[in-house]
């Protein structure tokens, strides 16, 4: 049966670009500290001295109010203001007043002092009341005149265009007092007016107090109470615009947008020129997703205040949220021109570019934003998303880290980081992040969905299902959730549940090609091939480019015997993705079925070149070529059979995962092909040796069975027969490359069936430890080792040994018949050249490729894999040359110079390393003769030409002989040196040397 692929269900919904920041400009009017309401208001009377009679009349009229404690009038007492008085007026009395009473006449309008006082009143925002004494031109008196009169006043600003007539004027309707008959009626009107004015001010002051209280409560987040306070303020003073504004803010914070809008509406009624009000109402509209209303508001705000940066920015955001990116960017551009140092605008524009897919511009904007304000998490998160979209996950994670450091409570940043790790294949780390996001925001379905996907890909479908169920609990309409859960059921093999989910998914989204594909696979796994084909067909209809559906339908056609249709599907898939080895392999299998051998071979070869382990695939489908031929009564051509046959291998390695989730080969074809090439270079080590390699013996408890020299001498001294079973012994860690030192410890070799009574001294010694010896498992007697006499034969033979853990391949030659514990691996052979082979880089590379390499050092010797090492077929001369240099190395390892760290002997060390490289060269030539010779790289011949002496032939000081040989071979003109130096121009050598 061929592989049926689940369509990759990595449909992760990324959280959208981090919500763009809004810019409030709150209008929290800072209320001045005012005296308590019950205190009389201070009234300042301004008049022309010509009108002192009227002033006195006014004072008389105010007398009752003064006694009531409502007002405390002040006037200059008719003294012509000298400097001292002037100062008293302008720095103390007038600025402290609450109410300003201006007796208007032609004279007062003309008076310089009166105008200066008016100016100060305007500046200090004192409530003015005009008392019109006579008919004069006060109605047309422009306040801008004041400026001309008052040298120091530059404050006019908002008053500029106003006139005196904009102030409250008394008596009623501004009718001058001298026109009233009787005049007392006029004065009565004045008094009533002032009384009303005082009441208003008192109310305003109360309202102000309530407003301040509201502000205070709002900062305390006591929103309800704040709203109450603002309402009170508005009740007291229905024109109190700031109270409306702040109440709107409070409503908004509460989430009560309708009421907020109501307040803004009121605000605008009372203050139709307030650009801020429009801006803020726009924000609320935007939050209600009423973008058109929002944009209208922002338009109005900009109309009123054409350099209103925030309004441009907000309008941009409103367009952005409607996916009108171009217009949004235009608005942001304007905002940037108005204020190039506003970090938030860059962030927003960046987000817009990001949504448009213009990554470079987006990154640039986010970076600018970060430079302007490095303490804001948003742009980091956003930039991370853009990097993630560019598949630069490392950078993305870096940015998310920063965002999380700045704002550790933002669940979306954790989700984003999780997604990045997810794409990197680090599912466990991504799950950690989703956990954190869920902890922060347990109601968001997205975290569960993503966590489910991660669990599923991490091979834990049960936990994935739990998570998907959580998603459905929270958001039954979550996109693709049923598809995802169905795929998880499918992975678990619960096909019916899977189909149910896919049906449900299609109910919600009937145009999802991926779901149809999955549904097809579920049907196929159930054996419902017609349904499967229908589903795949639907998937293809919806998305004709979906490679998986073409391949999968092909597989089902193939199973149904419609081989030609299958081939058509695979061919289509190849057109869509020429790098998909599955399509090639499957088509190859189809050609095989049609006995189109050449075409089959071509497709299989392509699949192999694309990095697929086709032999393993074939094994999974048909076991092997023989079985295939037997079952189908055909005979494959030899070359094709060879392509699909694993030669000389004891067993199949665990099926290696050759493709990642997207169908790309995980390993480069260079690596895969070289591994295969080496594997086929010759018989495996076990076949070659015809003898069994194994670990040493279990000597537990070692402290009993292995003794030092003193104990050994005692034992022999007590009874000479002890010497027969005291064997020189080594642990794995005692073994060095090439050579083993003569051991300084001995093993009491009490093999099974030993006549222990012949060795009384040993028996006595062992009896001291009888208790721990008896606690061992196994069938041996308490004094015996779990070893037989056969072991003794094994140890006595010449052999290669290596420790069971090591950094580098560490094989040594042992011809002395030492004994070893189970931390050593023994290969019985006399062929020393094999030691050179096993220590070579080529074998070390091959071994690291086939063994289940532990993720961390050190490497570990595993019998099964060591026995698989292929032994190249080479001439005896070749072997002898390697063996000769192995002998040099064994001898060198024993020299004191080599073991010295004195830099005097640095060159001797280079010599040792160089001889190892020479062996490497000879081994490369053994495994890869064609590649080396094509590039004119040879080692054997120049070494033979050199006439190297064997170790026995070297007379006298071996060290100086080695040095001579080394200097000759190391010369820059020597072929060996030159070929070693330039060897890595050959591609497979670069692979082995880790340079590719």
């Amino acid at each position: 049966m061929l592989e049926i692929n689940w369509v990759s269900n990595i449909q992760i919904r990324l959280t959208s670009v981090h919500f763009v920041c809004y810019h409030y400009r709150q209008v929290n009017r800072i209320a001045e500290e005012r005296e308590v309401v019950s205190k009389p208001l201070k009234g300042f009377i301004t008049y022309s001295h010509k009108n002192k009679k009227a002033k006195n009349k006014l004072l008389t009229c105010l007398e009752p109010m003064k006694r009531e404690g409502l007002i405390d009038p002040w006037h200059d007492n008719e003294i012509i203001p000298g400097d001292k008085w002037r100062e008293e007026i302008f720095s103390t009395n007038l600025p402290d007043s609450d109410i300003w009473l201006y007796l208007v006449s032609s004279e007062s309008l003309a008076s310089k002092t009166c105008n200066e006082e008016l100016a100060l009143v305007l500046e200090k925002n004192i409530t003015p009341i005009l008392i019109i004494l006579e008919d004069c031109d006060w109605k047309n008196y422009k306040l801008s005149n004041v400026q001309a009169l008052s040298a120091e006043s530059s404050f006019l600003g908002e008053w500029e265009s106003q006139k005196l007539s904009d102030f409250q004027a008394l008596p009623a309707e501004g009718r001058p007092l001298n026109e009233w008959n009787p005049r007392s009626k006029g004065w009565q009107s004045v008094v009533e007016g002032i009384r009303e004015g005082i009441r208003k001010i008192q109310l305003q002051t109360k309202a102000e107090l309530a407003f301040k209280q509201g502000n205070f409560l709002l900062t305390l987040q006591q929103i309800e109470q704040a709203i109450e306070a603002y309402s009170r303020a508005i009740e007291l003073d229905s024109e109190f615009v700031s109270a409306y504004s702040n109440r709107a803010t409070a409503h908004e914070r509460k989430g009560d947008f309708e009421k907020a809008i109501e307040d803004y509406d009121n605000l605008i009624v009372h203050d139709p020129k307030s650009s801020v009000a429009y801006n803020n109402r726009g924000i609320t509209h935007a939050k209600m997703k009423e973008y058109n209303l929002a944009i209208a508001d922002f338009n109005k705000a900009i109309e009123l205040h054409p350099v209103y940066v925030e309004a441009y920015c907000n309008r941009g955001t409103a367009y952005y949220l409607q996916n009108e990116f171009e217009i949004a960017i235009e608005n942001y551009n304007k905002a940037v021109v108005l204020n190039p140092h506003y970090a938030g605008i860059y962030n927003n524009r960046g987000a817009t570019y990001g949504s448009k897919g213009e990554h470079t511009k987006a990154i640039k904007d986010f970076t600018t934003s970060i430079e302007l304000n490095p303490h804001y998490a948003g742009p980091y998160n956003n930039r991370g998303l853009v990097y993630a979209n560019k598949l630069d996950f490392d950078r993305a994670i870096k940015d998310y880290n920063k965002a999380i450091a700045l704002n550790p409570d933002d669940a979306s940043a954790y989700i984003n980081r999780g997604v990045a790790y997810h794409h990197k294949g680090q599912y466990e780390r991504s799950i950690d992040n989703y956990n954190k996001a869920i902890e922060l925001n347990p109601d968001d379905a997205l975290g569960y969905n993503n966590r489910g996907l991660a669990y599923n890909l991490n091979g834990e479908p049960d936990r994935a299902l739990d998570n998907y169920n959580e998603v459905i609990k929270r958001d039954p309409c979550f996109p693709e959730i049923y598809n995802n859960r169905g795929a998880a059921y499918g992975d678990k093999g619960e096909v019916d549940l899977a189909i149910r989910d896919f049906n449900k998914a299609l109910e919600l989204d009937p145009n999802h090609a991926g779901t149809y594909n999955n549904q097809g696979s579920a049907h196929a796994n159930k054996g419902e091939y017609d349904e499967a084909i229908a589903a795949y067909t639907k998937a293809i209809e919806l998305d004709p480019e979906t490679v998986a559906a073409h391949i999968n339908r092909g597989v089902v056609y193939f199973i149904k015997g419609k081989v030609n249709l299958a081939i058509e599907g695979y061919t289509k898939a190849m057109e869509l993705n020429p790098k998909d080895p599955i399509a090639y392999y499957n088509r190859g299998a189809a050609w095989l079925h049609l006995q189109e051998w050449d075409k089959a071979k071509a497709d299989f070869t392509t699949a192999k070149q694309l990095g697929m382990d086709i032999i393993a695939m074939f094994h999974n489908s048909y076991k092997d070529v023989e079985t295939y031929q037997k079952n189908r009564l055909v005979k494959l051509p030899e070359d094709l059979a060879l392509l699909l046959t694993q030669r000389r291998r004891d067993r199949y390695p665990k099926l290696q995962k050759v493709l990642d989730a997207d169908g790309n080969p995980l390993e480069s074809p260079d690596v895969v092909n070289l591994r295969e090439q080496l594997r086929n270079a010759g018989p495996s080590l076990s076949e070659y040796l015809n003898a069994k390699s194994a670990f040493g013996i279990n000597t537990t408890p070692t402290e009993v069975f292995v003794v030092n020299e003193t104990t050994r001498d005692e034992l022999i001294g007590t009874h000479p027969a002890s010497a027969d079973i005291l064997k020189p012994f080594l642990h794995g860690q005692d073994i060095r490359r090439w050579h083993v030192e003569t051991p300084q410890q001995w093993l009491i070799f009490t093999h099974r069936g030993i006549a222990i009574d012949d060795y009384p001294a040993i028996l006595k010694y062992l009896e001291n430890h009888k208790e721990s010896l008896q606690n061992r498992k196994g069938k041996q007697a308490w004094y015996e080792l779990p070893a037989s006499l056969e072991h003794a034969e094994r140890f006595a033979q010449p052999k290669l040994v290596c420790p069971n853990t090591y950094n580098h391949h560490t094989f040594a030659v042992d011809t002395e018949g030492f004994y070893y514990g189970n931390t050593s691996y023994l290969i019985p052979t006399e062929e020393k050249w094999l030691c050179g082979l096993l220590n070579s880089r080529t074998v070390e590379w091959f071994y690291s490729q086939v063994s289940n390499q532990l993720t961390i050092d050190p490497l570990r010797a595993r019998s099964g894999y060591i026995q698989q090492i292929p032994i190249p077929k080479i001439t005896p001369v070749h072997k002898a040359t390697i063996a000769k240099i192995v002998d040099y190395l064994i001898c060198l390892q024993q020299q004191p110079e080599i073991n010295s760290e004195d830099l005097k002997y640095a060159r001797d060390h280079v010599m040792l390393g160089y001889f190892e490289r020479v062996i490497d060269g000879l081994i490369y030539e053994a495994y890869l003769p064609v590649e080396l010779h094509k590039s004119d790289k040879v080692f054997l011949q120049p070494l033979l030409d050199e006439g190297l002496p064997s170790i026995e032939e070297i007379q006298g000081d071996k060290m100086s002989a080695f040095r001579d040989i080394f200097e000759r071979l190391y010369d820059r003109m020597h072929l060996v040196r030159r070929h070693l130096y330039y060897l890595d121009v050959i591609k497979p050598i670069r692979v082995i040397q880790g340079k590719l």
Partner: protein
């Protein structure tokens, strides 16, 4: 095996196609270039081209993509093409490196890259930062991180810089016994390797330094770096320069190692490290020195030419300089047969900057060109230049006594010509045939005399032709 043609398109400073013809012989190239004119781009073009063949796991990886070197004024895809001639009469091979050709897989290029020597002036700037106290100079950083950084350790097949980086922080935490032991083992191996490397280098360095005229023997004092477990530092990063003077007459030894000499020593070390490389199979060896001679006194530059001549005669050499005076001198001191001369000028148009590449043909060749186009005045200038160059070069080559003038610029052609006229060969006969002397004298009256500018109006074609003949014969006689 030599490079015969270089074609550079849209690479770094070059916004268009530039073609440099090194003739079928694969000549060496001497380039004069103003700053910013593109000579360094040419150097880098060659360097990255060769390195694209060896995608090692080294820091240089970032140079592997052509895109990163695209000329900024154009978006048209660029490339670098080199043509090689492996032997006379054989077919040329063309190799191309571009956006589409990520890596040149040919083994020959890879091999050439491993055998090459590329040194630029920045390296010599490093000599100015060397710590120096009482004439004790620590060369450790210069050697390990710059001059020898890319040399290959024969035991590990890795560049020295990779071995060095392997023992850099973060160091293992205290108490991590295995890791510390591992680090210390690597430190010992690094020390051994560096010791060995220095031992191989030092005789060659002394030899080359002697060519600079310094009668000294150089040696390196390296005791090995050590890992300080307590402080978690790598100590004893010291390679001290030991100078032994043969000539005891040098009055103040302690001022021997000035910056110019250190530059010379650095060049000597680098060249020695190249000379210690194993011989490549293809026989293609390239040496490129980008402005490196600027750190040297003029008196030290000429010996470099001798050194190149003596030790690097089988290399194809690329020399660049921004010093016009030195360029002119080097031109005279090198053999036209082996060398090609070119000049880069900085050009600017409305749209972009571009290097202007001027091939410096032989003067006489140019003179003939102008004669053909009937530009007699220009022709006369070139003939005269050819004459002066020939006699000056001869005098310098033979160390002929030339009349002393305080300012060398005041030397007149007469000052060189007179001694040459008098020059005799071993047999005591005059070197120059009297017939040649007559011809030259005749030509000098009208054309070769530099004081005769105002008489140029009446130059006749025949006289120019005669002058060209005369100088041609003179060049032959003086060769």
């Amino acid at each position: 095996m030599k490079i015969t043609d270089i074609e550079i398109k849209n690479f770094r400073a070059f916004p268009q196609i530039y073609h440099i013809d090194l003739h079928n012989a694969g000549k060496n190239l001497l380039v004069y270039g103003e700053n910013g004119s593109g000579k360094s781009s040419l150097y880098l073009a060659l360097k990255f081209f060769l390195e694209s063949g060896v995608p090692e796991n080294s820091e240089d990886n970032k140079n592997q993509a052509f895109e990163t070197h695209q000329n900024i004024f154009t978006e048209d895809p660029g490339h670098i093409k080199l043509r090689f001639l492996s032997a006379p009469q054989q077919e040329k091979n063309t190799y191309k490196w571009s956006r589409d050709v990520k890596e040149i897989t040919d083994e020959l290029i890879s091999e050439t890259s491993k055998a090459k020597g590329f040194l630029d002036y920045k390296v010599l700037l490093e000599t100015h930062y060397l710590h120096r106290e009482n004439d004790i100079v620590n060369l450790f950083d210069l050697l390990v991180e710059v001059l020898l950084a890319n040399t290959i350790n024969p035991r590990t097949d890795r560049p020295l810089t990779v071995d060095w980086n392997a023992i850099q922080p973060p160091f293992p935490r205290r108490g991590a016994k295995h890791q510390i032991a591992d680090l210390e083992r690597q430190v010992v191996n690094f020390n051994r390797e560096l010791t060995n490397r220095l031992a191989e280098l030092s005789p060659k360095v002394s030899e080359i330094l002697n060519k600079f005229g310094y009668k000294v023997a150089l040696d390196f004092d390296f005791q090995g770096v050590t890992y300080n477990q307590g402080e978690k530092t790598l100590d004893n990063r010291e390679i001290l320069l030991k100078v032994e003077f043969f000539d005891t007459n040098i009055p103040s030894h302690h001022r021997f190692l000035n910056e110019a000499k250190l530059s010379a020593i650095a060049i000597a070390i680098y060249l020695s490290s190249i000379l210690c490389l194993p011989e490549p199979k293809g026989g293609m060896k390239i040496l490129a020195l980008d402005d490196v001679l600027i750190g040297l006194d003029m008196s030290n530059r000429l010996p470099v030419l001798d050194i190149l001549n003596e030790y690097f005669s089988d290399y194809q050499i690329f020399l660049t300089t921004y010093d016009k005076a030195w360029y002119e001198i080097a031109k005279q001191r090198t053999d036209q047969k082996d060398w090609k001369y070119a000049e880069f000028y900085f050009g600017k148009t409305d749209e972009y900057e571009l290097p202007i590449y001027v091939e410096d043909k032989a003067y006489l060749e140019k003179a003939r060109e102008y004669l053909d186009t009937n530009d007699y005045k220009a022709c006369a200038i070139y003939v005269r230049t050819a004459f002066e160059a020939a006699i000056k070069r001869y005098c310098e080559k033979r160390n002929l006594a030339v009349k002393y003038r305080e300012n060398p610029k005041d030397l007149k052609s007469e000052d060189f010509w007179v001694p040459i006229k008098m020059e005799t060969d071993e047999a005591g006969d005059l070197l120059l045939d009297l017939r040649v002397v007559d011809k030259i004298e005749l030509a000098r009256k009208f054309i070769l005399n530099e004081l005769s500018h105002d008489t140029f109006v009446n130059i006749y074609r025949k006289e120019l032709e005669d002058a060209i003949d005369a100088v041609t014969e003179l060049e032959v006689a003086l060769a």
